[in-house]
Every structure is written in C-alpha cells, then in structure tokens.
C-alpha cells in the first residue's frame, strides 16, 4: 500500500459525490485499488451521501412497482464476481481476462446456442473460437452499458488481439427494414463494425485499432457507411 499524496487523497469527497470527470474518476479508482485508507474513507463518505439521498426520499409513482417487478422477472441476473476486485492490478493479467470471461460465459453460451441453429457447424466453431480467444486474452477488459431502447450491452476488448466481442442482452429486434449497426469510434469518423438484427449471437469486431468507444445505431437494412441517427448504445472501450 502506498501512502497517498495529499492531492490524490482529497479527491475522496469529490469521488463520493460523483463529481469527478470520467478520466479523473478512473485515475482515482486505480488509486483506490491500492490505497486501503482511501477505500475505507470512500466507503464512509458513500454511507454519508446515501443519507443525503435518503433525505430526498419521495413516493415512487404508483405504476413503477409493477413495471420494475415485471422487468426484473424477464431480466437475467448477473453471476457473482469470482474475483474480489477486477480493478486491482495485483493479479496477473491472465486472471483478469478470466474474470471478464466468467461474467460472459453463460450469456455467450445462450448466444452461441441460438447461433448454431442457423449456421453451418464449422462456421459456428470458428466463430466460437474467435470469441473465446478474445475473452481469454491476457489483456481482455470488459465494459457494459444500457441500451436506450431497452436491454444492455457488454463489450470485451483485447488490444493485443486487436478484437472486441459485443454481446447484447434484452435488445429488441430491429424494426423491419432496419438493422443495428456497430461503430468503432475514436479519432476521425466512426468506422462501420458490423450489423445485427437481434441479440442472438455475440459479434466479433476485427481491427479495433485505437478506437476508444463502441456505439450502436439503428440504420436502414444492409447498414450505412456513416451513422445516420443517434446511438442507442455507446460504451467507452477500456484502454
């Protein structure tokens, strides 16, 4: 454990208030993984902000309960994390890759099984090998985020393999004559990275390059060369 510098340590309050910029937040979280004193202080300050939050408690709208319970009933629960702290740098990179993979294996199994039904067995095998080669990469990192039209997406990226795997859960089928199109974003214009109409199978993106974000838009069937609408999904790619 390193002794925190004064400046880094004073960020605990700002962090607990979710008032840091995204980059500073990532830096502070990296620091937190190594600084037990800071982690303890953040825990206490989070308990404190929760009290501020509870003080604002109101009556939830009457219809909310039924909506939440119904959506929960059709939402698959995430498996427990098998590792204490995925953000920590201590365990070897291979372990981190495994942890990210563990989170996805069940979802993937479902996706791959559905995929198998309408593809030739050898292509399925090749696709599956490719997916697992990304998940098992020593530098695999995962990011996840909501889809604005419902559902969630998880992206696992391996910079070494220059590939990413995108898995969507609860994604509505694309409207007729439309398709979901994936984009690699970063420097320059968004680059097309494949299309899908349902969330049935994981999508492998080749040549991730130095992209910093993956996004999804709804495009006319066949896909577009450049996005024509606002993204329904976007996540920052871990470096």
């Amino acid at each position: 454990m390193t002794q925190p510098s004064h400046t880094v340590h004073t960020l605990s309050g700002t962090y607990a208030l979710n008032a840091l910029d995204p980059e500073e937040r990532r830096e502070f979280e990296a620091h937190l993984a190594e600084c037990d004193t800071c982690a303890q202080e953040v825990r206490e300050l989070r308990e404190t902000t929760a009290r501020l939050g509870a003080a604002a408690a109101g009556r939830a709208p009457d219809g909310l309960r039924a909506k939440v319970l119904a959506e929960a009933a059709r939402t698959r629960q995430a498996p427990p994390r098998l590792e204490a702290r995925p953000a920590a740098r201590r365990p070897g990179p291979a372990l981190l890759g495994l942890a990210a993979a563990a989170c996805l294996v069940i979802m993937l199994a479902l996706g791959v099984a559905a995929y198998r039904a309408d593809q030739r067995a050898d292509r399925v095998q090749a696709q599956r090998d490719e997916v697992y080669s990304v998940l098992a990469a020593p530098d695999a990192r995962a990011a996840t985020g909501p889809v604005s039209t419902g559902g969630r997406g998880t992206v696992v990226v391996s910079r070494q393999r220059d590939r990413a795997v995108v898995v969507m859960a609860g994604l509505a089928r694309a409207p007729s004559a439309r398709t979901y199109e994936l984009w690699l974003m970063g420097e320059g214009e968004p680059k097309p990275a494949g299309t899908m109409t349902t969330a049935s199978a994981p999508v492998v993106i080749q040549r991730v390059g130095r992209a910093t974000q993956i996004g999804i838009t709804v495009e006319p069937a066949g896909g577009s060369a450049a996005p024509t609408g606002a993204p329904v999904f976007a996540v920052e790619l871990p470096a």
């Binding site: 340590h9 308990e47 909310l64 629960q77």
Partner: protein, 203 residues
Amino acid sequence: MAPVDLPHARDTRFRGPGRGTGPEDDLAGLVGRVARGDESAFAELYEHVSGPVYGLVLRVLRDPAQAEEVAQEVLVEVWRTASRFDPGRGGALAWTMTMAHRRAVDRVRSAQAASDREERAYRADVPAFDEVTEQAEARMEAERVRRCLGGLTELQRESVTLAYYGGYTYREVAELLGASLGTVKTRMRDGLIRMRDCLGVNR
C-alpha cells in the same frame, strides 16, 4: 468533534458483514436473497428502496418522467447485479443509492439531457422538493440531514449540495461558486467528513 483535515492517520477498522440487527442488516439480507433469484425478496426490497431511489433521482433530474425512467433502470439494475453486492464493503442502502446517484448524474451529463435541463430552467413548473417528501421516515431523515448541513461552512454546504443534489461536476461547482478547483475539492471532502460525523455514520 473536530473537522478532520489531515489526509491520513485514521484508524481503519474493518466493518464485517452482517453485524448487529439494524435495518441495514435486514436490507443486506434481502439483497442476498435477491441475488439468488428470489422475486418476493425483490418485491420487499422495492418497498424499502424505491422511495429513496425515486426521490433522489427526481431531486437531481427534476423531471418526473425522466426520474421514473431512471429509477426503473436503477431498480432493475439492483435485481440484475444483486450478486455483486458485498456487505463487507458498505451497506445495502449506500450500494443502491450510489447506483441511483450515478445513473441520475450520467443522465444529467448526457448531451441531450443537459440541453433539456437548460430549457427547463426557464420553466417554472418544477415540483418543489418538499412537496414530494411525504413519508414520515423520510421527513425525519431530511430533518437530520438539514440540521447537519447547517453545521457546515457555507462553502462546504454549497459544494456538497450542488454536486450531490444538483448533479454538477466539481468544475461546474467551482464555476458557480467562483472558487478555485482545489478549494472546491477540499470543501467537498471536509464537508462530507463533517456530515459523516454529525450523522453518526458507522465506521
């Protein structure tokens, strides 16, 4: 109680899971059952946390329709990620409220919502916070929090409340208050530490 200004030198006792029998432990127990897929436990948990989650999100977003949408996302996320809750790292309410605040703030900071919010600033139909604070329990908690906020310096109080209830980043808070970034960062920490001590948050 002296405000703690030093960045270190506090005893860091480990708070073990499941100690005592306070409401927090009941909540933690419920989350544990939810993690195992127990829908009735989730319905019970909903009764405890939906008011705080919705109230906080509404406070930050101000728009009841958006607040309901975000509260729904948060509550379903509680169901989805219950297995990730670790009682050794804090209480179940803090876990839930952290998620709620993050989601609310993400929504505020997304470009679309930001422009909506600016637009709404010109309208006068924003429901007042006190109108939506109905539950007796929440009123008592609100009273305690108000009293403790009263014990902060003005700059501490404004830094904490603008960031937390306003959903502003510390840079925006500094701009609003005409204070330096460094000052705002330390006031946020000092203010929360005083709040922690005043509210008697478990260490």
